[in-house]
Amino acid sequence: MSKAVTALNRAAYDGYVRIEDAGLCGMISLRGDLSDAKVKKACKDASGQAMPKARGIVGSLDGGIGWMSPDEALVLVPYAEAPAAAARMEMTLKTAHALVVEVSDARAVFTLRGEKLREVLAKVTPADIAALPVGELHRTRVAQVAGAIWLSDETTAHLICFRSVAEYMFELLSRSAMPGAEVS
């Protein structure tokens, strides 16, 4: 079996905010009725977390659930466990009207660390990052591509985008975090 690597192979940039490729993350996309008992159970069994409310994200990259839309959740699990977790979810869902697919290798995940990460993000997205509460998953545009952003605390943010634009995203965030590019 080939060795799995991320698009950027753990690249990092130390600007006035640190930009890191978060490494291999297990991600499972679920479409269905998020209030359905089987859907909730499948997500909880895989992640250990309860279904978040609208726009919420609970848990961590190793076990979490993000609310993506009224009928879409992103389940976060350790990378190596994702295929088995997705298979177990399908077993739990059985006849429920839902769709499960592992998307770990279709996405790239970044972590931003630093006091001014809200500023670094605000420069590259129209979303009101200054008002984004910790624990809320905000899907928006990041310069020219789509991204989902959340803060796990005031100095740690995460961003998920398509793997095909991982390099663009890394260059973009690094440029935004370049020393001398501070705006406040």
């Binding site: 726009r55 879409e72 928006t140």
Partner: protein
């Protein structure tokens, strides 16, 4: 900058996070329709200066289609609402009437 609140995820998105879907509340005429109905469905559109109803998609967001009522002259937004309807809901009509008494658009007023 036009900003619309997506009724599905509750995010206030700006125009660059949305994709326009053209005029709202069209009745589709497909195979078997008369030439006149098909032509009207394909080509004939409202083009108002003032109250207008449109479809938008929260494409850089939750991905859902929704409806919006706005003024084409001022960009004032009267309301956004579900895509699963064939007419503007009462509260949106009331909001328009409060700001633009006597408005009409297609079959609605």
């Amino acid at each position: 900058m036009l900003m619309l609140k997506c009724p599905y995820c509750g995010v206030v998105a700006d125009e660059t996070e949305l994709s326009p879907g053209g005029q709202a509340h069209l009745t589709r005429f497909g195979p078997g329709a008369s030439d006149e109905d098909f032509e009207s469905y394909l080509f004939m559109r409202e083009n108002p200066k003032g109250v207008h109803f449109e479809r938008w998609r929260h494409s850089n967001g939750c991905g859902k289609w929704f409806h919006a009522a706005r003024c084409t002259a001022t960009l004032e937004v009267f309301g956004t609402y579900s895509a699963q309807t064939v007419e503007p809901p009462e509260e949106v009509r009331a909001a328009i009437t409060a700001k633009r008494p006597g408005w009409s658009w297609g079959e609605f007023s």
